[in-house]
Amino acid sequence: MFDGASNLAQGVDNAFFFIFAVAFVFIVGITAFMIYIVVKYKRSKGKPAMQFSRNIKLEVIWTVIPLILVILMFYYGWVGFAPMRKVPKDALEITAIGRMWEWEFDYGDGKVAKELVIPVNKPVRLNLKSEDVNHSLFIPAFRVKEDVVPGYDNYLWFTPYYIGDYEILCTEYCGLLHSSMVSKTRVLAEEEYEDWLANLEATGDIPDPEGLVLLRETGCLACHSLDGSKLVGPSFKGVYNSERVVVDSNEEITIVADEEYLKRSIYEPDEQLVKGFNKGLMQSYEGTVTGEEADLMIDYLKELE
């Protein structure tokens, strides 16, 4: 893991090395000394305990030496940390968006990607934005991490040194799929990166359907997936016109999830709840989602097969 994959890694690893070296010496030394004491001064007749209880000189020494050592540790930590807050002016700026439970990287001009693709040897500044709760963007190999807090303009920066793939993890607990909120950093050669960015434009230009935008903004996708996986609620994939067993006042009946049913589920989710899901988890969106908006959402669901 100590491969210095970014400009910040060396400073962090130096601090690690110093702290762990001191820790090792003290832990091993003191433990060995305790074992020595226990063996050497084992209770036996004719070997009374000495009765000293103070030694000012010793006490001063073992106050001052740890004090110096911890201040040194603090210093190494500070020196390694200080550059993390000094972003070069020419850094490539990318907005990293965290939402339950995925990362998105906005390159400006409507260019958006699910993975962070960056050129090697060029400083990158990530502006961190949250659309819902707290997240934290962590790239272990680069030794960078900063929380993604709604309403705060947090940032981090680094210069990647090697071409390759590196993990991006979310380290601030953010609910159900926190541990799946992972992505990848792909460090490319400068030209490859330019190519990639140019191609991204083509795909990034198509705007999302209105219904999908609404589903996302209302927070529906936090509990209902688009890919068929079961989260807190049933997946949206293929739901339209499918047969479902629902619980209607404690009775199980089979219905078809048509427009009317889907609309009713937005406003009275507990009335006919799909079997196997719990009541009370979803609130009514009466007053939040207008009738028109609900229609747009359902239009989008129709296409999602």
């Binding site: 702290i19 004491i37 001064y41 540790m73 603090f74 940390f81 991490k145 807090v149 541990s179």
Partner: protein
């Protein structure tokens, strides 16, 4: 040290007072009986939370969902944290051994407010029951983690309100116990016992009590604000309502960091009693230990920001909080040197209490030094919210407070019950516990360094070995716990009778009968000597 005959006096165990049977416990204002009420409650909850911990480790033995789904896992780590922190570790030593031994060690017949003391236990039980109920009523088990970070805790559809209220109520119990102890220590020390003739366990309780009284109200108010936010939609912390999510973190840690010292200071106090007894030698650097307890309590108020190094607080706040964090490490280091020096040149009797106390130092050192890696700004950026943090605080809280609790129970058991446990079995249980503990938690340091985040239901393949080894450790640790508890529970009624002073201790609790009488002392003793005066053999 064993005697064949039962004691002849009427101990607090037989003296029932005004009520009979179970009521003689539930309505007792005797500090010793209340101490045991706390201990039994805590042991029950500890077993529940330990089983939850074991379930989490089984789940993480292999990648993917093994025995539970993600939502269940999130609920389990939340309630594991809430029970362990608010119901066990924060009250833990102070409520059990503090209640039982503080009055005796300062030569008093009871605490200053015995009825308030019983009330504290009832408040504690109500809070604990609410915490458990939060699992079963309303919209599902809370899934916010014990830290309740907003905005998630303001938005989660689960039953967060119940859990918040439980923590709020438990806080009151803590405040009242702290208040009781402060007054007791100020007003009820035996004649002649000046501040610096007081044993060091009471000293540590004194420092702890001030934190409980001054810091707990802050978390109480903070939790109330979250409740108001959820029920009345007032925007304090949730940015969707115009609040500030970092404000919550500040308020939460202004209490919860000092709370760490509520956990560890009494633990330090317990082992400080054990080292002199089993070395037959006065505590080395008595004054330094007493003062460093107060220093830790005081400086501990100003380091909360180190929980927020990556949250986006300003450059200079990070600098300041990191610097103070390193400074607060020094008094702890001084204590370690003092404990080791207390043993040096003594007459060492390696009985179970001392075994636990020595392993406390070892585990506390590992917890402390890894804490320094977390306090340093550069390394914190890498380690923050990884399993390294989980390992670190389990080394401090379980390895520190937990092992000190085990040390304390093995030390004071003959005094509390008038009986001795099986020493050989206790040693074996210690060995299993110690090995299991390290196998369980040490791998978490390593995978944390490699980037394994905490509170992850699932993990990437490179962390599999570490998680697997750690889970094996959980089983070993659990086996050790069961064996230790079996030995103690069984010996409460079946162990051989113990003498009044089996370890040759010199503090006041060893000068009275085992178990103590209802009044502790027939006549209140007059204190003429410093607390740790052992007779020389040639005297």
């Amino acid at each position: 040290m064993d005697q064949t005959n039962k004691y002849t006096h009427t101990s607090y165990l037989e003296n029932e007072g005004r009520f009979k049977g179970i009521l003689s416990w539930l309505l007792s204002t005797d500090h010793k009986r209340i101490g045991l009420l706390y201990m039994n409650t805590i042991i029950v909850f500890f077993l529940v939370a330990a089983v939850l911990g074991l379930l989490m480790r089984i789940e993480k033995m292999a990648p993917g969902a093994d025995i539970m789904d993600a939502q269940t896992y999130n609920g389990v780590f939340t309630i594991h944290g809430i029970i362990m922190i608010f119901i066990i570790v924060i009250p833990g030593l102070a409520a059990v051994f503090g209640n039982f031994f503080l009055p005796i060690m300062i030569g008093a017949k009871d605490v200053a407010f015995p009825k308030l003391n019983l009330l504290s236990w009832y408040i504690y039980v109500i809070g604990a029951i609410m915490g458990v109920l939060s699992q079963f009523v309303g919209g599902g088990a809370p899934d916010t983690g014990w830290t309740f970070y907003v905005p998630y805790s303001a938005e989660s559809a689960t039953n967060v309100l119940f859990a918040l209220t439980a923590a709020f109520i438990l806080g009151f119990s803590s405040i009242l116990t702290g208040l009781n102890f402060i007054v007791t220590i100020h007003r009820m020390r035996a004649p002649g016992m000046g501040w610096f003739k007081m044993p060091l366990f009471p000293w540590s309780l004194y420092a702890t009590a001030w934190i409980q009284v001054l810091a707990t109200p802050i978390i109480g108010i903070t939790l109330l604000l979250v409740i108001a936010e959820r029920t009345l939609n007032i925007g304090f912390f949730d940015p969707a309502l115009g609040g500030d999510p970092l404000l919550f973190q500040h308020l939460f840690w202004i209490y919860s960091h000092p709370a760490v010292y509520v956990m560890i200071l009494p633990a330090m106090g317990v082992v400080t009693e054990i080292f002199p007894t089993f070395s037959q030698k006065p505590v080395f650097g008595y004054t330094a230990i007493a003062i460093s307890s107060l220093a830790i309590a005081l400086v501990g108020y100003f380091v909360w920001g180190h929980h927020m190094f990556t949250s986006g607080i300003s450059y200079w706040s990070r600098w300041f909080f990191s610097f103070l964090t390193f400074i607060v490490a020094v008094p702890s280091a001084i204590k370690v040197f003092n404990w080791v020096s207390t043993m040096y040149g003594g007459s060492i009797d390696l009985k179970p209490p001392l075994l636990y106390a020595i392993s406390f130092i070892f585990l506390f050192m590992i917890g402390g030094f890894t804490g320094l890696a977390l306090g340093s700004l550069a390394t914190n950026v890498h380690l923050h919210d990884t399993s390294f943090v989980v390992a670190h605080f389990h080394y401090i809280i379980f390895g520190g407070m937990g092992f000190a609790f085990f040390a304390g129970i093995h030390y004071w058991f003959p005094k509390m019950y008038g009986r001795m446990y099986n020493i050989k079995l206790a040693n074996i249980a210690w060995g299993i516990l110690f090995v299991g503990f390290n196998v369980l938690y040490f791998p978490l340091f390593i995978i944390g360094l490699q980037g394994m985040p905490r509170r992850y239901f699932d993990y990437l393949p490179q962390f599999e070995t570490g998680h697997f080894v750690s889970s094996i450790g959980a089983f070993i640790l659990f086996a050790g716990l069961i064996l230790m508890l079996y030995n103690l529970v069984r010996s409460r009624r079946k162990g051989p009778w113990a003498t009044a002073n089996p370890w040759k201790g010199v503090t006041l609790e060893w000068q009275i009968e085992s178990p103590p009488t209802h009044e502790n002392f027939e006549t209140i003793p007059e204190i003429k000597h410093p607390p740790y005066l052992f007779k020389k053999e040639n005297d």
